[in-house]
Symmetry: C2
Amino acid sequence: MADADVFRHVPLPTAEIQRMEAYLGPLADSVRALVDATIRTSLDAGGVERARAEIDAITARLRESQEPGPAGVRYNSEGYSWQWGNAAVGLRNAVAPPLTVWTDEDGRLRGRADLGNAYEAPPGMAHGGVLALLLDHLMGVTASTGNVKRPSFTGTLTLRYMRATMLGPVQLEGWIDHRQGRKTIVRARVGDAEGPTAEAEGVFITPRWAVEPPVTPF
Amino acid sequence: MADADVFRHVPLPTAEIQRMEAYLGPLADSVRALVDATIRTSLDAGGVERARAEIDAITARLRESQEPGPAGVRYNSEGYSWQWGNAAVGLRNAVAPPLTVWTDEDGRLRGRADLGNAYEAPPGMAHGGVLALLLDHLMGVTASTGNVKRPSFTGTLTLRYMRATMLGPVQLEGWIDHRQGRKTIVRARVGDAEGPTAEAEGVFITPRWAVEPPVTPF
């Protein structure tokens, strides 16, 4: 896939993008509720079949006009960028809880998400792998903080689970431990209503091309 | 939440459960397609609003009769058990890709999943955290292999990402490195069409109550 497909300039003002977000976000929220109802419904075969036929008809209509591939990253000429399909934070992605991330007054990255029934693994508890997804995402953002022109990729990620995490609201925080050349060592933790449940350390790597000017070999 | 709610016996024969799976699985598949269309549609505000109203109506109908909480684990008297809401493998969970897991002839656990547009993070690539979710799940199953009566929980999980993973089909394999008391050390890797992309080591812990008989203190 060419970079141009997934990293694309959109010639629209930020106000117009935000107007679209105002109706596209609620669509994903409605699909999130449908995902939950799909897990929990006790309707019989006939009721489920009817729901499925109606869902297929809606999907077909949404597909009458659609982007050819993944949502990728989009940006406009005002410095606004968005990644609506992101698996952790995507506004339009019903797979994403979604995670919300912001920088707190103390400079730490904070995040929160509401983990509903779709994020279960030990019965009644949050899937440890879902927590890994949220931590990985928050830590990647943390690694790029204050240095948005140095993209970074997860090199290694070590997670330590202290106890099971209840389904429901979770909070995250992440901070840079130290930098070492092109490596940024990030630490983070996640917790539920009763306190911390898992902590993580990650090594994020900025690719060579992002920090060195191209060298002409003569 | 009481264990009874999430770990429940269901007085139905396996054949009846499988008859339900035959119509409940396709419902989740249809919701997965809707999730994809929700990310990609270019319909205008009116078209999106109409889709949303219809989705809300379907959700309301599915909810007319539904389980009160998460899907948990269910089992019957024939030794069949199921976890339809699991975030990685759940038959009824449209958040799950789903991951399919089986034991190969060589005794290793294998898994596969098709990561569509909903699992994106680096533009056009699979989210590293989604790979962590799949690896964590496969490794947990690996740790319990041949010992289903010894449940195990993820203690630590270390992931090493070697390169970005393309969206599309991914393959996983996991095996037990060694056991040490109540700890099981599991290794695993995941790859896309071009080969391995990440590897993992996990320490899975069997709780004390699962290996020791209750002690009467007198």
